[in-house]
């Protein structure tokens, strides 16, 4: 069983997608020509068809948003999903609307929350938690955690 207090190094499951620490945030980028923000980061060319931009600056996305919709995974997903332990525990997934970016971002919901705890419109914030572990590392990922009552 992998726990967060294992002795293994804790490393992001993917490079350059989020910061860790007390106020973690998703890392997108912004086209320096048209100002459109992308997550995951755009590379090489701006996906806006009206923009010929090829330069981007890294930008942190809003840490808080509202649930656009949600669901869960009652059955263990197939690889490359890696289960956290031998006995599968269902987890919830939320699509979260970020107001400033006018963007919806998918993420797992923080440990300990099920669909029964979620509502469309509910406020959530970004946290960093374990995704899975192997012999070498514990791998971290961003998740959405409910922070308050529905408006």
């Amino acid at each position: 069983m992998v726990t967060s207090d294992s002795a293994r190094p804790r490393v992001p499951a993917v490079e350059g997608w989020f910061t860790t620490g007390d106020e973690p945030a998703l890392l997108g980028n912004r086209c320096t020509t048209c100002s459109t923000v992308f997550f995951p980061k755009a590379s090489f060319f701006c996906p806006n068809p009206a923009c010929a931009g090829e330069e981007f600056e890294e930008t942190k996305l809003s840490r808080r948003g509202r649930i656009w919709s949600y669901t869960d995974a009652q059955y263990q997903p197939p690889p490359p999903y890696v289960p956290r332990s031998d006995s599968y525990t269902p987890f919830a997934i939320a699509a979260v609307e970020l107001a400033d970016e006018q963007m919806v971002v998918l993420g797992q919901v923080a440990d300990g929350f099920t669909v029964d705890d979620l509502e469309v419109g509910q406020r959530v914030e970004l946290v960093i938690e374990d995704l899975f572990g192997d012999d070498d590392n514990d791998y971290l990922v961003y998740k959405w955690k409910p922070i308050g009552a529905t408006q």
């Binding site: 919709s69 059955y75 997903p77 997934i93 998918l106 469309v120 419109g121």
Partner: protein, 395 residues
């Protein structure tokens, strides 16, 4: 552009047969050729819809089917557009005919599928969003279907019972369909007792993966007339549109939508744009339809499609369902074939299977599931990574 016709259609029944996909494709192709009364040696173009699960022969489906049917020197093409592959293969063949480069084309799609969830191809591919969504999110295809379903509940007050009623309707529609894999009557209670897979969607409400094959013989109207083809159906439109930027609705397999903050262009939402492009080409509207075959990857998704193809306004799909409008005998039957609920999905064959059903309906050959007096039918479907698919046929 109405000078291309469907001359014949054919299928290999859907199931979990576990045999080579080529066999299903050839069975379907021969059935379509026989249905058209066309000699295979007259086919000048073979357009294959690819399967990515069956190795190299699946990537070169056009050549694979051409060889299996017997080399004749015909030109080939192979198309991949995920669930929309069949429509893309159809469009490639139609373009050949419209360009005057050929008079007869054969379009074939077939698949052999693994058990369980569709998963990405093997290997470590951290640059592939389809791989990453499984690794980082554990997001399967039903995850996305369920997000739309829950959203529908929150926006319009849809209920799990509404979704189950869609599934029950399609079960009734498919009961007598000889090509359907599942021919079992389900009550709403049966469906609501099925195990939850991705809340609020249950096992029998989520499309299974199936083996199957479908084929369409397309010809020029001139060829059909010259050969005296029986009941040729006019191909009024084929829509293979992509989304417009910014795409602000979350779509499989992505992690996020485009941002709508910096670019304020009002764009037609992708799923609405698919049928819109088809209506525009055909010069008709939803009020002219006799029936529709839509991609019910989940029970709830069928309700979304009612709105995306313009059968009703947003939020009115449940009323359409409850009024019986979309049941055979109603105003605009949807999925008279039984839909994916009764077929499961054989990815490269599925968009063609939709066309087969519309063809049988318009020719009055659909047996117990016949929509009386059908003259115009539409198909609607979407392949991941931005592939629209919609075909309109008329008598």
């Amino acid at each position: 552009m109405t000078d291309v016709v469907v001359a014949g259609v054919g299928m290999h029944p859907w199931g979990k047969w576990g045999r080579n996909f080529v066999e299903y494709g050839v069975v379907a192709a021969r059935a379509a050729l026989k249905d058209a009364g066309v000699d295979y040696r007259d086919v000048q173009f073979v357009s294959g819809a690819d399967t990515v699960r069956n190795g190299y022969p699946g990537y070169v489906a056009g050549a694979t089917f051409a060889q299996a049917l017997g080399w004749t020197g015909a030109r080939v093409a192979s198309s991949y557009a995920a669930c929309a592959s069949g429509a893309t293969a159809l469009e490639v063949a139609r373009a050949e005919i419209l360009a005057g480069r050929c008079g007869v084309a054969l379009v074939v799609g077939a698949d052999t599928t693994p058990k369980g969830f569709l998963a990405p191809n093997a290997g470590d591919r951290p640059d592939d969003p389809d791989w990453l969504r499984f690794r980082l999110l554990g997001a399967t295809n039903p995850t996305y279907f369920a997000l739309y379903a829950r959203r529908r509940m929150a926006l319009y007050g849809a209920t799990e019972t509404d979704f189950a009623e869609v599934r029950a309707k399609n079960a009734r529609h498919g009961l007598s369909n000889p090509n359907a894999r599942y021919r079992k009557d389900f009550s709403v209670e049966d469906i609501l007792a099925s195990p939850m897979v991705a809340d609020p969607l249950r096992l029998v409400e989520i499309c299974a993966t199936s083996d199957g094959g479908a084929a369409v013989v397309l010809t020029s109207a001139d060829y059909a007339k010259r050969k005296g083809i029986d009941q040729p159906l006019r191909v009024r439109a084929v829509s293979t549109v992509t989304p417009a930027f910014p795409q602000t609705v979350i779509e499989m397999p992505h992690f996020a939508t485009d941002s709508g903050a910096a670019v304020n262009d009002a764009v037609v939402p992708f799923k609405d744009s698919i049928a819109q492009a088809a209506y525009e080409e055909a010069g008709i509207g939803p009020e002219d339809l006799s029936l529709a075959e839509v991609y019910d990857l989940s029970s709830a998704l069928e309700l979304d499609w009612y709105e995306h193809i313009g059968l009703c306004k947003a939020g009115e799909a449940e009323r359409l369902l409850h009024d019986g409008d979309t049941t055979i005998g109603g105003r605009i039957p949807v999925n008279p074939s039984g839909g994916l609920a009764c077929f499961g999905e054989a990815v490269p064959a599925q968009a063609l299977a939709q066309v087969c059903e519309v063809a049988w309906q318009l020719r009055g050959q659909a047996g117990e599931r016949q929509v009386e007096g059908a003259t115009v039918g539409i198909t609607a479907n979407q392949g991941l990574f931005g592939h629209g698919s919609s075909v309109i046929l008329s008598t």
